[in-house]
């Protein structure tokens, strides 16, 4: 049971994390919050998300949530989405590997991603 001080410290720390996440997804057109990195995805769903983005030759950056628990929890609060990976394009949360797969198969993702490239 963490006493109130630490939880309020966590609460103070949390807005900075939300601000940090917002900055990251604003500064980069395409951001994938994932487990691991592009060369070493640490989970099948993150691996699938990387595969899709690489197939589309998207210009993207990744954030490894395994290396920072505050990011791992903060990103779920930021998007109100409980799982990883999470894809952001132009600051907008698109979804996890499920939705990425559906959008990839329907051609929608290629459209969204190539809009960033031009």
């Amino acid at each position: 049971m963490s006493d109130t001080d630490t939880s309020s410290a966590e609460a103070q720390e949390q807005p900075d994390m939300q601000e940090q996440i917002k900055q990251t997804v604003t500064d980069n057109d395409i951001v994938l919050f994932m487990k691991g990195n592009a060369n070493f995805p640490q989970c099948g769903f993150s691996g699938k998300a990387i595969q899709i983005l690489q197939t589309l030759k998207a210009d993207f950056v990744t954030v490894d949530v395994l290396s920072n628990d505050a990011v791992r929890e903060g990103i779920k609060v930021y998007s109100n989405w409980p799982t990883i990976p999470q894809l952001y394009v132009k600051g907008e949360f698109l979804g996890g590997s499920d939705i990425m797969t559906e959008m990839y198969e329907s051609g929608e993702l290629k459209q969204t991603v190539s809009d960033q490239a031009s």
Partner: protein, 78 residues
């Protein structure tokens, strides 16, 4: 460990008269959910509705849940 049947009941509890079927190995699950509530909603909104129905169970016991979320019309058309 969570069973597909348990997950099916949890999801159904969030959707009046929805048609839900779930397969899975206890950690990774695949669910197909056909519900009226999805009408007019984006993919993300639909998935968030399901996560809301699962609430904290999602965090603790369900590591990975793949979902297909369709309205009755979309299902017939598919």
């Amino acid at each position: 460990m969570v069973t597909p049947e348990q997950l099916k009941i949890w999801i159904e509890s969030g959707f009046e008269g929805a048609d839900v079927n779930v397969e899975g190995d206890g950690h990774h699950f695949e669910a197909v959910i056909i519900a009226e509530e999805f009408t007019g909603k984006s993919r993300i909104a639909r998935h968030q509705l399901v996560y809301a129905a699962l609430g904290d169970k999602m965090k603790a016991e369900v590591h990975a849940l793949s979902m297909k979320t369709l309205t009755p019309e979309e299902h017939q058309a598919a």
